[in-house]
Symmetry: C2
Subunit: 385 residues, 2 copies
C-alpha cells in the first residue's frame, strides 16, 4: 500500500425530506446565491423545498447552467455575486451545477484572470466563497470532493481544477430528488459512478485490500441497482443505494494508497469538449478500448475484477480479462449508454482532432503508469470506433 | 436505508515514515503535551521520531496512561495542562491513550466537575484543546472518531462519551509502529476492530448495500490479515491493511443509514470495569453468546454474513447462522483470544454483579431493537460461561 493523506470535511445529510435541514446549515443573515441548471427543479418541487428552507436568509438565483458547464456562463454568475454581495453559494443540481458553483465560488474571490484557476489546475485558488449542495443526480461525486470540471465553449477546452477551498461545506442527498430524472441521465450517472470506481481499481495490484473490497462492493451495488433505477424509478432504496455509491466512488476513499488510471476521463474530456458527447457516454466508449489496449498491464486486476465482481468461472487469465471487458460493455449498453464512437456519429477523423487536443493540453503521459502517449491514444481510439 | 448525517473531519496521514509530518500539523509556537502509555514508545524508537519532528514547538510529556484509562490518571494530566499552559494535545499510543487524551482535552476546558463529561455522555462538553494522534495499535478506531471510553477506578465504572470537540484534528498512522506489539495486543486489536464491524452489520436488514459490502470487505480483510500479523509481525502490507481496517471499522462510515447493536460493548464494558478483562477479551466472550441468544432476530444478517464472509455452503438458514457463530468463535480463538467467561476464571457469581452494574448505568434496553434487559443479559452471560 502506498502512503497517503485522506481528509474529507464535507458534511453529508442523507435521506428523504432532508432539504429542510438547509435552515440549520446556512448561517442566518447570509446572502445566498442558488445556482441550478435547465430549470427542472422548478417543475419537480425541489426549488420550492429549497426556498421554503431558506426563510432565514436573503437569496438570489442563477439558473441556466448547462451540462459540462461553460466558463462563460460561470463568469456571468460571478458578476451577479459581486453585484449582490453574495456570501454563500448553494448549488442545487447534479455534478455540472456543483462544478460550476465551485468555479464561481473561487472566481468570485480571485483578483486576476479567472481562467488562471483552470490553467493552474486550481493552484491559483487561495480563497473561495463557501459552497453547499443539494444533490439531484447520483453520478459525479462532486458533492463530496474538491474537484470541478469546466468547459471553455469558445475554445472547446474541457478541463478540471482541484482546490480544498471549494470543497462543499455540506451536501444534502435526498434520493427522492432523482425520481424524475430522464433515463439518459440515469444511465449516464450510473456509468459515471461505475467508471470512477474502475479508474481507481483496474490498475495494478497494490495490496490495498480494504480499498479493493470497497471498490468491489460499490461496483456490485451499482450493477445490482442501476438497471432497477431505469425500470422502477421511484424505488427509494434503489435510488439511495445508487446515490451513496456515487458519492463514495469519488470522495477520496478509494484513492487512498492505490494507483489511479484516469486515462478514460482525460481522453473522454476531449470528446466532450470537441463534440459535446455526454460525460458518461465518453467513459462508456473509452473504458473497453483502453482495457483492450492495456490488457497485459491490467491483467491481474482485470482478473480480480472479473472473478470478484462478475463471478466469471473461467480459469485462463486472458479469457477472464476479456470476458470482464465484454460484461462491462454489456452493462453500459444495458443502461442505455452506447460504447462505440460510431454509435455517436464519429469516425476516424475524430482521432486526429482528439490527439491534437491532448497534446495542446499536455496530456501526453496518461494512465496508472504514465505511459499512454497521444500516439497510444490514437490506437486506443481506433479500438473504440 | 435510514436517514443519516455523516461528517468526519479528521485528517489521516498514513504510511511508513509519516511521523515526521508532525512538523506540518502542529502550529509553530504551540505548547504540546505528549501523552503515552506504559513507555514502550521509549524503547521502540517512536518517542524519538515524535520529538525529532517537534523541533518547532515546546513540548512536555505525560506517560503512564493505563489500558482502559483511569479518570484519576487523566485528572493528573489536566493539572499539568493547566500548570504548563498546554494548548495542543498529542496522543502517542493506542485507543486507551487516545481516549484518555480526548478526556484530558475536554476536562482542561471544563469549569465544573470533570466527571460531568462522562455522566452526560459528552453533552457537557462545549470546548476542548485540539487533539492530534500518532497511532501505535490497530484496534479501537478512536483515531478517527469523537468517542472516548474512560474508567473510574474508584467505582469500577467504565463509561464512554462523545463530542465533536475532541475529534482528532489529524492522526498519523504508520503501520511500522505496530511491528513490536506483543501477540496479546495484536489479538485483542484484531478482535476489537472485527467486532466494531459486526456491531454495525449483524443486526437486521436495512437494504443499505454499500454499507453492508464495506462491512463484509473489512471483515474479509481482517480474517485474512489478522493471523498473518501474529505469524509474520513485520509484514508491512499486513499491518497496513489491518490498521486501515480498524480505522474504517469505527469512523462513522458503517453506521450510516443502518441499525447498530453495541450490546457486546456495553455488557463487555462492565466485565472490564469489574474484573479488568481486556476490552477485546470481553467482546470475544459476548459476541457468540449474544448471537446465540438472539439468533432468530439476527438470522437474516447472520446468514448473509455466513455466506458472504465465511462462504458457508449450507442451505438451512439456522445451520448457516450456527456455523457463522462457530467460525467467528474459532477466529477469535485463533487470534489467541479466549471466548468464555470461565477461560478468565469467572463463574456464575459474576453474572449478578454485571447485571447490577448494567442497572446502575441504566443500560436496560440494549441491542439494535432495544429489547435486551438486564434479565436478558443474565441469560446471555449464562451462555457465555
Amino acid at each position: 500500500m502506498n502512503n497517503f493523506n485522506f481528509w474529507n470535511s464535507t458534511k453529508i445529510i442523507f435521506g428523504a425530506g432532508e432539504i429542510a435541514s438547509l435552515s440549520n446549515e446556512i448561517p442566518a443573515g447570509a446572502r445566498v446565491l442558488i445556482t441550478y441548471g435547465g430549470g427542472s427543479i422548478k417543475k419537480n418541487g425541489i426549488f420550492e423545498q429549497v426556498t421554503a428552507a431558506l426563510g432565514h436568509v436573503t437569496w438570489f438565483e442563477f439558473g441556466g447552467i448547462e451540462a459540462n458547464p461553460h466558463f462563460e456562463t460561470c463568469i456571468k454568475a460571478v458578476d451577479l455575486v459581486k453585484t449582490e454581495q453574495i456570501d454563500f453559494m448553494l448549488a442545487v443540481g447534479g455534478g455540472s451545477v456543483i462544478d460550476a458553483t465551485k468555479f464561481i465560488a473561487a472566481a468570485s474571490k480571485y483578483a486576476g484572470d479567472p481562467w488562471d484557476i483552470i490553467a493552474t489546475f486550481g493552484g491559483a485558488v487561495t480563497d473561495a466563497l463557501p459552497v453547499g449542495c443539494v444533490l439531484t443526480l447520483a453520478a459525479t461525486g462532486s458533492e463530496m470532493n474538491p474537484t470541478s470540471v469546466v468547459t471553455r465553449a469558445e475554445t472547446q477546452d474541457k478541463l478540471f481544477f482541484n482546490s480544498e477551498h471549494v470543497r462543499p461545506k455540506f451536501s444534502i442527498l435526498d434520493p427522492k430528488t432523482t425520481y424524475s430524472l430522464p433515463p439518459r441521465q440515469v444511465g449516464n450517472g450510473v456509468v459515471d459512478s461505475f467508471v470512477h470506481v474502475l479508474e481507481q481499481y483496474v490498475t495494478f495490484p497494490a495490496n490495498a485490500r480494504v480499498q479493493d473490497r470497497f471498490a468491489e462492493g460499490l461496483l456490485a451495488t451499482i450493477i445490482e441497482e442501476g438497471p432497477k433505477a431505469l425500470h422502477d424509478p421511484e424505488n427509494y432504496d434503489v435510488r439511495a443505494n445508487l446515490m451513496w455509491s456515487a458519492t463514495m466512488a469519488l470522495n477520496g476513499l478509494l484513492a487512498t494508497g492505490t494507483p489511479g488510471d484516469w486515462a478514460s476521463h482525460l481522453i473522454g474530456q476531449e470528446l466532450t469538449g470537441l463534440y459535446g458527447l455526454d460525460h458518461g457516454q465518453t467513459l462508456a466508449i473509452m473504458i473497453p478500448a483502453i482495457w483492450t489496449y492495456k490488457l497485459e498491464q491490467k491483467r491481474e486486476k482485470l482478473v480480480q475484477y472479473g472473478q470478484r465482481v462478475w463471478h466469471i468461472q473461467e480459469t485462463d487469465p486472458n479469457l477472464i480479462a476479456q470476458q470482464a471487458i465484454e460484461l462491462t460493455r454489456e452493462f453500459f449498453e444495458s443502461m442505455g449508454v452506447k460504447t462505440r464512437l460510431t454509435d455517436y456519429g464519429l469516425d476516424e477523423k475524430a482521432i486526429a482532432e482528439v490527439v491534437a487536443k491532448l497534446k495542446e493540453h499536455q496530456f501526453v503521459a496518461l494512465g496508472e503508469h504514465g505511459d499512454i502517449t497521444p500516439e497510444d491514444a490514437a490506437e486506443i481510439l481506433k479500438l473504440a470506433l
